[in-house]
């Protein structure tokens, strides 16, 4: 009994110093005396744990709601409905069969004319410029595409939705707020917009531009297609390199490697590379691949190589675990049947370990897809308008595009940045879900 007594005394850090006095007290009484306090401590401790988890989950919820509330607007874009008189004189077209003429026709003039007839009060040059600014500079290109597809429209009057300027877009979306966004717009522009709104000419439509365009200085014309294709190419290269090299390394280390210093050295290297900051891999790409081998900057090929070096340790470590999980009895059975080492590996170990390896690879690729810092170092931050068509075309990647847009001062870019983040997160979450699914469904436990 006395051991318990001392133990309890110690654990409660009670300052009962006098041992003779302690002995006199009945043990049960002593325990009961402290019990309430101890239970309180117990509950407090448990609550700390609960609070910590709630804090972490709260951060997750706040992050997601913040991004979604900022970004959901970008999936819709404001258009202005205009009656366009496709006058041949204004268009400067006399032969509608002539594609060259159609391509260089004055579409901007038509749109401007339509705006002038809507708001005849804009007389001064300054006012006119303000009026024209309501419509995006990209609207004439969209009109051009429409006319080129249907040259017969020339000479008629059509009603089209033209892309609104980003300020108009932000203003129209913020009308429900307590303080609508005004930005750089003048009083007159607001009056015009109010009348457009009253006549029902302002419409919000699904923002196809966002998914079909490359980057642009104009928020209403900027899209993520270029960045998405760039990311796709980069991840493709990363997958090809890191998957083949990763599982080869894992097989070597698990099945062939003798226990010696060299093998230990390889393992130490892999473990350390797993924890090297990603920006260091960017420095490696800059100094070795660009500086020494003279590779081109800003291309997905280089980005893929650098990212594959970064993800290799993740893939190797998880592939090794998958190979280790294949029971030795299977190897022994195959060897007993006369299979060679290579046959054992290729016919039995690899197929059984494949789900685990794929899970690790997908997780590694998801990590690579969200990585930004190394790509900054190798120049994938350039302003690229064109959608890349090959592995050696200059391009950006989705996370880099997010970084670039986050730096842009226009408020419409905040919305688009958040929307791009939503797209990126959707990719990452679906990749991770596939990985979890693979792990649950295909992985065998012995």
């Amino acid at each position: 009994m006395s051991t318990i007594e001392i133990d309890i005394e110690k654990s409660n850090e009670s300052n009962c110093t006098n041992e003779s006095e302690m002995k006199k007290v009945n043990t049960i009484e002593l325990v009961n005396k402290n019990l309430k306090k101890r239970y309180r401590a117990e509950r407090r401790f448990k609550a700390y744990g609960l609070v910590s988890i709630c804090f972490a989950l709260l951060c997750l919820v706040v992050l997601f709601t913040d991004i979604i509330s900022k970004g959901h607007g970008a999936f819709f874009q404001t258009y202005i409905q205009l009656e366009l008189n496709l006058d041949e004189d204004v268009l400067e077209v006399n032969d509608i069969q002539n594609m060259k003429q159609l391509a260089s026709a004055n579409y901007q003039g038509v749109i401007r004319q339509s705006l002038r007839t809507l708001f005849p009060d804009a007389k001064k040059r300054h006012d006119k410029r303000k009026l024209y600014a309501l419509v995006s500079s990209g609207a004439s290109y969209q009109l051009a595409d429409q006319i080129k597809a249907q040259p017969a429209l020339v000479g008629t009057t059509i009603s089209v939705f033209v892309l609104a300027d980003d300020d108009v877009d932000t203003w129209f979306k913020s009308l429900d707020d307590a303080k609508p966004f005004i930005g750089r717009m003048s009083e007159k522009q607001l009056v015009w917009l109010e009348s457009l709104k009253k006549s029902g000419s302002l419409h919000k439509k699904f923002n196809t531009t966002f998914f079909n365009n490359g980057d642009s200085r104009e928020p209403e014309l900027a899209g993520i297609k270029g960045a998405m294709i760039g990311s796709l190419f980069t991840i493709l290269v990363t997958f090809l390199l890191s998957f083949t090299v990763g599982i080869s390394t894992a097989i070597y280390l698990e099945e062939y490697a003798p226990k010696n210093l060299f093998t230990d050295f390889i393992e130490v290297n892999i473990n350390n590379l797993a924890a090297v900051p990603s920006i260091i891999f960017g420095l490696l790409g800059l100094a070795i691949f660009i500086g020494m081998f003279g590779m081109q900057r800003s291309i997905p090929l280089l980005g893929g190589v650098v990212l594959s070096l970064m993800t290799l340790p993740t893939i190797i470590i998880s592939s090794r675990a998958a190979i280790k999980a294949v029971p030795p009895s299977i190897r022994q059975a195959a060897l007993g049947m006369g299979a060679s080492k290579m046959q054992v590996i290729l016919h039995h170990v690899l197929p059984l370990a494949m789900p685990g390896m794929l899970t690790g690879t997908i997780i590694g690729l998801a990590q690579a897809l969200g990585e930004t810092a190394p790509l900054l170092m190798i120049g994938m931050v350039a302003f690229v308008v064109d959608v890349p068509g090959a592995l050696t075309d200059p391009s950006t990647a989705l996370p880099v595009q997010i970084f670039l847009w986050a730096d842009s001062p226009e408020r419409a870019f905040v919305e688009r940045t958040s929307a791009a983040i939503m797209v990126l997160l959707a990719f990452l979450i679906s990749m991770n879900t596939v990985a979890v699914f693979l792990r649950k469904r295909l992985e065998r436990r012995w």
């Binding site: 309890i8 401590a41 900051p277 170092m377 986050a406 979450i429």
Partner: protein
């Protein structure tokens, strides 16, 4: 012949060599009494033929495409007019760039000096010749290899043994890529750092209190002092990491304890994946969140506090920078929570159940068991995990690039703007660079510091964790 056609032809050659090697083995075995008399399966003879065909050819193609541009540029330089011999390296690079642009069709050839147009044409012809030579040599190597294999194949050839040896060697080569990467990292940061330390003494870099990397290009330029004292960067990095750890360590640790000791299986199966989502969010997203949501929030709170009556009464006033270290640190802490929690979860689960049972059996409560038995037993592992987290916080780039400032202030005030090592590396190497200037090179010196510090932390942490694991195995 374009590269894709060349690759296609080579690939077809591989398929052909497989079938011819296999066929040769089978036919040569026929007069001996069928396939069973072969030393190995026909597959191995085919593979052997492919290896003979592929290895020399692919090695040549990869080496050639790696180094041909360097050789071509050398040849181009030697062909340039004599007056270019005494150019500085910078002018030479500029000239070569111009010639390359003309050759690639980026710059219009007309209107450029004649010697440049000549050089561009010469460059184009060199490239065409090089490509042609590569194709011819690669294909002839492939055919040679195939014929050697063809001659060698006979029923007694131990094809299986040879193929398996090559297979093993290829795997070994793949494993060496990890070593090559480490060597590459060390070389890439070391060489440039040595150049940097030739310009700026090591002691000034490590102990200097002033960081202002803008070097004056002209004598009379204002603001270009070129001071390379990295202490403000180190302090900034440590300040932000410390804030992050203050957020992440208690939260991560307590969540791990709750999840592994208290939570029911169902709660665990829900909360763990949710925490993993937090870990899977790209850092650029955290950076955006820190810069556009948390930093303004902290600034507004500061303003609100300044306006409140308690502060006026006490005569206090807070100066909150819009790029405060606090915002970056807090968000980085949130990022690191799942990292610490999963590592701590692992080590807590590794503590043998018998220790817990012993403590509970002696009458201690659950929390007493955790605090006085489980945590002390798991402490080395937890310390290792925290060290790994610190090294992550130090090397974290995007959050600080987006949310922390650029000005190198030497301060411990979390409400002021500080800059970090990674921010400086990014600002110096993104965009247009002046090569070989102390400013650009300093980024590599900072990279070297970062690499050394994180490597030391990692090696130490891994050793601690390993020792701890061995203790209970």
């Amino acid at each position: 012949m374009s590269s894709s056609v060349l690759l296609l032809v080579i690939a077809m050659l591989f398929v052909f060599s497989y079938w011819s090697g296999r066929g040769k083995a089978i036919t040569s075995a026929q007069h001996l009494g069928g396939v069973t008399t072969l030393n190995s399966l026909p597959f191995y003879y085919g593979m052997l033929a492919v290896l003979w065909c592929a290895i020399p050819c692919l090695v040549l193609v990869s080496l050639w495409s790696m180094f041909d541009e360097t050789v071509i540029q050398q040849l181009l330089v030697s062909q340039l007019p004599d007056n270019s011999a005494d150019m500085s390296s910078g002018e030479m690079t500029l000239l070569l760039n111009k010639v390359n642009n003309i050759a690639n069709g980026i710059t219009a050839a007309s209107g450029q000096p004649v010697y440049m147009q000549d050089a561009a044409n010469y460059l184009l012809s060199l490239r065409a010749n090089s490509h042609l030579a590569m194709s011819v040599i690669a294909l002839s190597l492939a055919v040679c290899g195939l014929s050697i294999a063809w001659v060698k194949i006979n029923p007694e050839l131990r094809a299986r043994k040879q193929v398996e040896t090559v297979f093993k060697l290829i795997l070994l080569l793949c494993s060496c890529i990890a070593i090559l990467t480490t060597v590459g990292i060390v070389l890439s940061v070391l060489f440039e750092s040595i150049q940097f330390f030739n310009k700026v003494p090591v002691s000034e870099f490590l102990f200097g209190l002033h960081w202002s990397p803008q070097v004056a290009i002209r004598e009379d330029q204002v603001g270009g002092s070129g001071a390379f004292g990295a202490i403000p960067l180190f302090v900034g990095t440590l300040l932000i990491s410390a804030i992050a750890m203050i957020v992440a360590v208690p939260t991560g640790l307590m969540s791990a304890i709750y999840l592994s000791e208290y939570a029911s299986k169902q709660v665990r199966s829900w909360v763990k994946p949710l925490l993993e989502i937090l870990a899977g969010i790209p850092t650029v997203v955290y950076g955006f969140f820190a810069a556009l949501t948390v930093a303004p929030l902290i600034r507004d709170t500061g303003d609100w506090l300044n306006g409140s009556w308690t502060f006026e009464l006490l005569g206090l006033s807070l100066q909150v920078s819009s790029e405060s270290a606090l915002a970056a640190g807090l968000v980085m802490g949130v990022m690191i929570i799942p990292f610490i929690s999963s590592l701590a979860d692992d080590v807590i689960n590794a503590v043998p159940q018998s220790l817990r049972d012993g403590s509970l059996g002696l009458g201690s409560t659950h929390s007493e068991t955790i605090r006085q038995v489980v945590i002390p037993a798991a402490l080395p592992g937890i310390v290792g995990g925290v060290l790994l987290a610190v090294s992550r916080a130090i090397g974290e780039t995007m959050i600080v690039v987006m949310a922390a400032g650029l000005a190198a202030n030497l301060t411990a005030n979390p409400l002021e703007s500080v800059t970090t090592v990674t921010v400086q590396i990014v600002t110096m190497l993104v965009g247009d660079q002046e090569f070989d200037s102390a400013k650009t090179l300093s980024a590599f010196a900072l990279g070297l510091m970062l690499f050394v510090v994180t490597l030391t932390l990692n090696i130490y942490a891994l050793r601690v964790v390993k020792k701890y694991r061995e203790q209970y195995e």
